[in-house]
């Protein structure tokens, strides 16, 4: 059932002179894997899906499915199914006939289509809902039916366009579990688009970060969290600490002092980024840097604190740290900061980011 998808140099310019909505995207989705395209609104991530599905035509580049070029192939012959942000269940059909839609238009007799629909409804844990009208479902149920309907079409690639973003947190969690379960049972090839790093983390094997139509970084979510290649990626993934400084001889010099780096970094100006969950508050003697707590924000049992470190002759640096559950600290307290060497990562400053990032993202794909 699952096919392998290859997008090569995919570009879409909507109007001459306007910046491209998608710029030279190369991305592979191996058979049976789930790749997420992660990006903020307007980053061109939905364009990726529309071009892949054939709902829009690329200005340049190609889409290959199992080695076959899909240029000029209409959406209904591409062997893909898409689940959108809204369920878009056909309002004039029952739940069962919605799920059986692909089989019906394929020419299967109604009874057989309905039997298969029941099977797919059971896959999404909605057995027995078949005879209900499509509009009599809750948001979560409707989205499950939309998923069952897409699976019933037996697509070679399943395209998911922010399918769970309209659901509340609990339902979204349920849908994530359902999709993980379906992946284990059916091993579909999935190309998912989302703006939520947690969703990409929960569902995808590989994540492509997109900003302003360009691929910023591609890799497993863990790698993106630990080693963002740009400020844009770090910010999109919830990174808060950005300490400007200079790299010399494998060490980063800034208001935090001179910090050893885990991997070689280009010499010259560089911004140190660190995940808040990697930073711990320690006694002054064991600290990599010392500063004053200037802000405390609650996050359930944990607290997110911002520590300001005064630099010697430089701008003060703000470092975010997530405390362990139950650990408390007051605003104004003098604290020591421990930043593990492996958690340190240097990215180019904002001005240099575009040139250097564009080149490095490109190199990775070649």
């Amino acid at each position: 059932m699952s096919g392998s998808l290859q997008l090569t140099g995919l570009t879409r310019v909507h109007a001459a002179g306007a910046p491209p909505a998608l710029d030279d995207l190369t991305l592979a989705v191996p058979a049976g894997s789930c790749v997420a395209v992660l990006g903020p609104s307007g980053s061109g991530k939905s364009t990726v899906l529309r071009l892949t599905a054939g709902l829009d035509t690329p200005t340049r580049g190609s889409v290959h499915l199992d080695g076959r070029d899909l240029a000029g192939v209409v959406p209904e012959r591409r062997g893909m199914a898409m689940v959108f942000q809204r369920p878009l269940l056909f309002p004039h059909l029952s739940v069962r006939d919605n799920v059986g839609f692909a089989d019906r238009v394929r020419g299967l007799p109604r009874r057989q289509a309905r039997e298969r629909a029941e099977h797919h409804l059971e896959l999404v844990q909605l057995g027995g809902f078949g005879s209900r009208p499509a509009r009599a479902l809750s948001g979560g149920q409707a989205q499950r039916v939309a998923l069952a309907r897409a699976l019933a079409a037996e697509p070679r690639v399943l395209l998911l366009d922010e399918p769970f973003s309209a659901l509340d947190t609990g339902l979204r969690q349920e849908m994530h579990e359902l999709l993980a379960d379906l992946r284990l049972r059916l091993a579909p090839t999935v190309l998912l688009v989302t703006h939520d790093p947690a969703e990409a983390d929960a569902l995808a094997d590989t994540v492509a970060v997109l900003a302003a139509g360009r691929l910023q970084q591609l890799g497993p979510m863990r790698e993106l969290y630990a080693r963002p290649r740009s400020l844009a990626v770090s910010r999109l993934l919830g990174g808060r600490t950005e300490v400007p400084g200079t790299v010399t001889g494998g060490r980063h010099r800034s208001a935090l002092g001179e910090l050893e780096l885990p991997a070689p970094a280009p010499e010259g100006p560089g911004v140190l980024v660190v995940r808040p969950e990697a930073v711990t508050l320690v006694a002054a003697a064991d600290a990599d840097a010392r500063g004053t707590v200037v802000q405390v924000r609650r996050r359930g049992l944990r607290a997110l604190v911002t520590v300001e470190v005064a630099g010697r002759g430089t701008e003060p640096a703000a470092v975010a740290a997530e405390l362990s559950p139950g650990e408390e600290v007051a605003v104004g307290a003098e604290v020591g900061l421990r930043i593990p060497v492996t958690a340190r990562c240097v990215v180019p400053p904002a001005g240099l980011a575009d040139a250097r990032e564009g080149a490095s993202a490109h190199d990775r794909q070649r």
């Binding site: 959406p75 209904e76 056909f90």
Partner: protein, 284 residues
């Protein structure tokens, strides 16, 4: 105040708010229909004593006129529905020419039927613009105006009503159909399957409602049939007007009988279409 009391007050208020619209309709239509029924049954004669009688109903050739009127209305509505749907599909297709098409078809709407009928006569008559343009002699030109098949009458109604139907259906299609047809395409539905299984069912309620309005209007419309039709047999509205304006005052009850019949047919058509529309709406 209890909940029931509040609900009662709410419904009273709603009734009061509706009254300004309902009262004129009931007074005008109700009074007109009542007086027409009374006149047709001989109970309010212009001369002589009131006496209950069905003579007015028997005297006219109601059967032929009913069949003719229903046929004209059904034929014109059928053509208008097909053309209107095609226009709506073309307008909402998103092509560059669709805006021009939409403007052109909506230009038809403000043109009065009388003007449309005159134009259709000038175009289709045996000495009209079309035979001249095509170089066909009047004797060889089929009798489209005033002929046996009421072609010019049907064509005028179909032309005018198709723009109305297109406007209503395009409004519905443009707001909801695009995303559904994209979904259907990605589920493997080709162009025809998308039309058959998605577009048509979604357009059906609007198409049905506008077709019903068009049918009832055509059934009761006078001027086009009077201008472009043949003298005999006459459709119901033409028959009613001729009898009503006749110098024979005894023909007035017959005119009333024809008018009541036309209204009853229109009412039945509205009730039937409302019923089927409610069923369609319940499915969506």
């Amino acid at each position: 105040m209890t909940a029931a009391g509040r609900a009662g007050a709410g419904s009273r208020r709603a009734t009061l708010l509706v009254l300004p619209a309902v009262v004129p309709v009931v007074v005008v239509v109700g009074a007109a229909l009542t007086s027409a029924v009374l006149l047709s049954l001989g109970l309010t004669p212009l001369v002589g004593r009131p006496e209950l009688s069905l003579d007015a109903w028997r005297a006219t050739e109601l059967g032929t006129s009913i069949r003719l009127s229903l046929a004209i209305a059904a034929g014109a509505t059928a053509v208008a529905t097909v053309v209107g749907l095609c226009l709506a599909l073309a307008v909402t297709a998103g092509a560059r020419r669709s805006r021009l098409l939409a403007t052109l078809s909506s230009l038809t709407i403000p043109v009065p039927h009388l003007v449309g009928a005159a134009a259709m006569g000038l175009l289709l008559a045996d000495a009209g613009f079309l035979p001249r343009l095509l170089g066909i002699a009047p004797a060889d030109w089929p009798a489209l105006v005033g002929g046996r098949w009421w072609i010019a009458v049907g064509a005028e109604y179909a032309w005018k009503e198709s723009a109305f139907i297109a406007l209503v259906v395009a409004g519905v299609l443009s707001s909801r159909v695009a995303s559904y047809t994209e979904t259907a395409a990605l589920l493997g539905a080709g162009r025809w399957a998308r039309f058959r299984h998605v577009t048509l069912p979604l357009a059906a309620p609007a198409l049905g409602a506008s077709a019903a309005v068009s049918f009832v209007y055509t059934l009761g419309s006078y001027e086009v049939a009077a201008l472009l039709g043949r003298p005999s047999p006459e459709p119901l509205p033409v028959l009613a007007v001729r009898l009503f304006t006749s110098i024979d005052l005894a023909a007035r009850p017959q005119a009333a009988a024809v008018a009541v019949t036309t209204s009853a047919l229109g009412l039945v058509a509205v009730l039937v279409s409302l019923r089927s529309l409610r069923r369609l709406a319940a499915e969506q």
